[in-house]
Symmetry: C2
Subunit: 156 residues, 2 copies
Amino acid sequence: MTTVMEKLSVTHSSFVIERSYPTTPERVFAAFADPAKKRRWFAEGEGFGVREFEMDFRVGGSEHSRFHMKDGTPLANDTSYHDIEPNRRIVFAYTMSVGGRRISTSLSTIELLPTEKGTDFVYTEQAAFFEGSDGPKIREAGWSGLFEQLAKELAR
Amino acid sequence: MTTVMEKLSVTHSSFVIERSYPTTPERVFAAFADPAKKRRWFAEGEGFGVREFEMDFRVGGSEHSRFHMKDGTPLANDTSYHDIEPNRRIVFAYTMSVGGRRISTSLSTIELLPTEKGTDFVYTEQAAFFEGSDGPKIREAGWSGLFEQLAKELAR
């Protein structure tokens, strides 16, 4: 006999990624708040073509990006910004779609802490993965790659 | 020496609430999708005065409700809908504010499963609690109270 929990269509999980960047919290924050900077490290990653990137970085604002993978499969990211504390914290929810089908919604918290050497950066994702989703390991690897792109952006 | 994690301003946690309702998934879903029904069980709870309740129940849509507690303290709930599968699943993110200050953002997943007797209902909340927040125990108790209101709505 299967239990209620075994019949559910959603898998919940969470992960944390920590980084230290040798620059100020103000500059790290700007890489998220400034559309030109964010587009560069976040949307124009290797292996993806950017079709659309629109962001409205304020509490209650949205961000929409549309990509395609090398094989042509369309990807979409739809984000809503829920909490912004300048130079300190950004909280947003985002839904990923592949080929027009929603595969996950996540709540992401970014926290920035000033240190002697720069900024400690902590990314926490609490995710709900739907049918046919990539799951937490691939998602975490994806963000780790993005935060390498962010390091390059901060070194510009 | 304090660690990075100890210095953070956000506490993450999650909880699950399960209920069984003696009615169809269609009727439970309608209690979330129909503004008149949702306002009745969700917004007009005991001890709160509703000042505003606006909902746009579609993927990408928002919901805004404004209340005041018995002592006059204003409360606000700002929701964004991320995934809706009719009669089966609703995924939304919501931010709570007390006295104009944001205290949390949560990702909520509602799953509905048809049973012989009606509907198994599973609510999963993955929350980020900010400074001065109520925290997971009070939040879980709050939703448990709301789901009793929902049971009354479904029995109408």
